[in-house]
Amino acid sequence: MSFLEGAMLALFFTLPFAIYRLVRGPTLPDRVVGLDLITTVAVALAALYAMVSGQTAFLDVATALALFAFLATLGLARYIEYRGQKGE
């Protein structure tokens, strides 16, 4: 296993932490933070795989994923603000 593959494997072990926050909450913005970290790690994994596989098309995957994550966070933030004062 090369160094870069080891780095990808190490990054997979950050996902349970983010999924824990996504599942446990306790509030809706907490879950959005967990989702945000998952997509950040996914962008890093796509960039690493672009080096491991030698296919630079995975960089485009990383770009699209970053754009999607930004729009999703903005949309969820707008929904949380729109919903108003309501605890979960």
Binding site: F17, A47, A66, F70, L76, I80
Partner: protein, 124 residues
Amino acid sequence: MLELLVYALVAGGVFFLFIAAIGVVRMPDLYNRMHATSKAGTLGVGLILLAVAAFYQELAVAARALATLAFIILTAPVAAHALGRAAYLSGVKPCESTYVDELAGHYQKNHRLTSVEKAPPKEP
């Protein structure tokens, strides 16, 4: 030599993403957790994208990696600000050991977005 630089950047990126993952679990409230993901997470993924630019020494690939890096650096604070503002306005409380709330009194009690205020009243 350049290979060493790539390995150092990747190791730093994985390290900071781990710091972000630990922070998102261990920090006491939402605002501290957002601090962990938006700063350490952005730094981690940025270091890995720099490693990609150094690994492929071609202009086309480096430009794409650096453009992604610039996009993430530009959008991460915006997303964190929008989410933090929404959480504060929807009444998410900071943790017990927070003494100073500098935003207190700067927003009206029943803050609503304008599109909500203009919405037609519900039929009874």
